[in-house]
């Protein structure tokens, strides 16, 4: 145990790893469980808040940075029955929040893909759910927050009381301070299950077009075969979900939570040409064979919670994900260039996914309307070459990368591709002039 003075932070050295397995390092780790622990003077030490640590990129740790794990701050604080708003501490997981909300007929309209992601993490990354075009992003549903910064102490803020600080915190990846609590607007939960329809599609373009037609669905996204080449490139399945009163097809029990560290335990990657081709073929066959099934709200919102093999298969080497928001007008050109690049480099692409997207924040999160392309690849040299080339396509088509997913994205691409990067940087220099809140992600992006 190390303490620099009597009431100083209790720190220990811990090892942190990104979910994609690209970066692991040891650094000082603080695990506050009382409010006064947040106020402990860390001097000029760089620090960053951490929730579940499931970000693909190193958004919650960095070399020489004190990681302030907020998981003990996971309580419900206040509920407004009239307006359906719930105030929660930032370290609460979506699972814990939903366990309280669902029996009361309430739900979060925006849920990213894993139940252990924290509310603070959702705000910091401005996470999105299964139909961002309709529901927006997580921060669209945040009414207020309490932030802690050593210079300002605990500060309660809203979009109207502190527009600049609020806007910089939403999608600000923790760089404005610790999100101590947040007030969220919940949606009515009319039913407990989701009917998911699977529709086979033959190309990315076809799927993107179908998504535009089905934009009113409660859940709308696609999966595409990463192994397919030639005319079959981009074939996939469109997955459309709507709330239903029908009973779920399968009874499901508890799931086994998986951390970033656990994801990369297997020493080798089991994704190779054969397994990728086989898995994708099996998935498509199953989807086509069962074009309609009823899932619980949990399984529909968190499809990978009970299916951890997909991510474990990447092994210790890890995966690389690129998630790119392409403006509507640029989608055909992007698909053409993506296809050309895939065929030229032939990277170990496992799967792709599309969603329609709308982001309204003006920070580091994706902003504007378009189609969100996600590509999952096995981490290797060919993937690096492919993604470096894809960066040029991103910039040339006016697309935006999701910095929470791409752990190798550099400052040059970020500066050119993120529309509010320069304004964010300027605001950050005013809000945190000593740049106390940093991570490997912020340092890599020149922030």
């Amino acid at each position: 145990m190390r303490r620099s003075d009597v009431d100083a932070a209790v720190l220990r050295q811990s090892r942190f790893v990104t979910f994609d397995g690209s970066l692991a390092l040891s650094t000082d780790h603080q695990r506050p469980d009382r409010y006064r622990h947040l106020e402990v003077d860390l001097g000029a030490r760089k620090r960053i808040a951490r929730g579940a640590g499931l970000s693909y990129a190193a958004a919650s740790f960095g070399a020489g940075v004190v990681v302030q794990e907020m998981t003990a701050f996971n309580r419900l604080l206040a509920f407004d029955d009239q307006n359906h708003t719930i105030k929660v501490e930032g370290g609460i997981t979506l699972e814990r929040l939903l366990a309280w909300a669902e029996p009361r007929g309430l739900y979060c309209a925006v849920l990213p893909g894993y139940p252990l992601i924290t509310v603070g993490g959702c705000i910091a990354a401005d996470a999105h759910g299964k139909n961002p075009a309709r529901d927006g992003t997580f921060c669209d549903w945040v009414e207020a927050m309490t932030l802690f910064h050593p210079r300002r102490g605990f500060q309660s803020i809203t979009r109207t009381s502190h527009p600049e600080l609020f806007g910089t915190t939403c999608g600000g990846f923790g760089m404005t301070g610790v999100i101590v609590d947040a007030t969220l607007r919940l949606s009515p939960l009319l039913t407990r299950n989701v009917r998911v329809r699977s529709i086979a599609t033959e190309s990315l373009a076809e799927c993107a077009g179908r998504l535009q037609q089905e934009s009113a669905a409660d859940f709308a996204y696609s999966w595409h075969d990463g192994a397919a080449r030639g005319p079959a490139f981009g074939r996939g399945v469109l997955l459309l979900g709507n709330w239903t009163e029908d009973a779920a097809d399968e009874a499901t029990g508890a799931y086994a939570p998986m951390s970033s560290d656990q994801r990369g335990r297997w020493p080798i990657s089991l994704w190779n040409r054969l397994t990728v081709r086989s898995a994708n073929a099996l998935f498509r066959r199953m989807a086509v064979h069962r074009p309609s099934q009823v899932k619980t709200a949990f399984d529909a919102a968190f499809p990978f919670a009970r299916q951890t093999l997909y991510h474990r298969f990447y092994g210790r080497r890890g995966l690389a994900e690129a998630q790119i928001l392409v403006p509507d007008a640029a989608v055909p050109a992007f698909i053409a260039e993506l296809s050309a690049l895939v065929h030229m480099v032939d990277p170990p692409l496992v799967m792709m996914s599309l969603k329609l997207f709308q982001g309204r924040q003006h920070s580091l999160s994706m902003s504007g309307r378009g189609t969100l392309f996600a590509l999952d690849l096995v981490r290797c040299e060919a993937t690096r070459r492919f993604l470096d080339a894809l960066d040029r396509v991103v910039v040339s088509t006016g697309a935006q990368p999701n910095i929470a997913k791409d752990s190798r994205l550099g400052a040059d691409t970020a500066t050119r591709a993120l529309p509010f990067h320069a304004q964010f940087r300027a605001r950050l220099m005013q809000l945190d002039p000593d740049r106390l809140y940093q991570s490997e992600l912020s340092q890599r992006l020149g922030l």
């Binding site: 469980d33 009382r34 309580r75 604080l77």
Partner: protein, 244 residues
Amino acid sequence: MTYLVVGGSSGLGRALAERFARAGHPLVLVSSDLRDTRALAADLKLRHQTPVIPVVLDLKTPSLGFADIDSALAGLPPLAGLLLPAGVSRPDDHPSQSPDAFDALTNANYTALGRLIGHYLPRLRSAPSALIIGFGSVAATRGRRRNAAYSAAKRALQSYFESLRHALTDSNVRVQFYVLGYLDTNLSFGQRTPLPVAAPDQLAEVVYRRRLVDFGVAYYPRFWYAVCAVLRALPWAVFRRLSF
């Protein structure tokens, strides 16, 4: 039946509060920082629909008043038990520490708890069935150069609980004392513990399940009973060389 949880803001205190609230018991939570207990009280009320009232009280101070706790208890069902997981330690707790620091540790870990028990004992005696649970530490097994005042206070508390149990042997008040090994709390975070840390919520479950059992003293985890027996039996010539 209402329970008073002293030291209820984090770690074991929080775990106990959550377990007893989950069982539907109204609670009064006492800690030195209202922010923590207010947050916990709000959470427990929202999740379990049971009344939980936070009260601030700094056990380190020599003059203690229980008026705020009495006021909180007044609106709740009768008091049925005291859960006393409170504990304070300092890294500079050695025999040459300042008098103020020594007093603060002794108050927080022993004196204040004894006074609190004395204040609420009449109320507990008149209850049909009541419970007083204290928590000590394996650190009190034998005096070391570190945690001098803390260990002494915890040892005094254990002795006090033995006396309490003896005095209340023919009453409706059950007295239990847990001697705790390493718990996964902020206290042990950062320590290189030679033996495994136990989870507070698992201990809270054990405490709740055994609340009706008249066992006196128990070690948690149980293997610490043997470890402490060995430590006590070590000859001075060996013990003086240990650094832990």
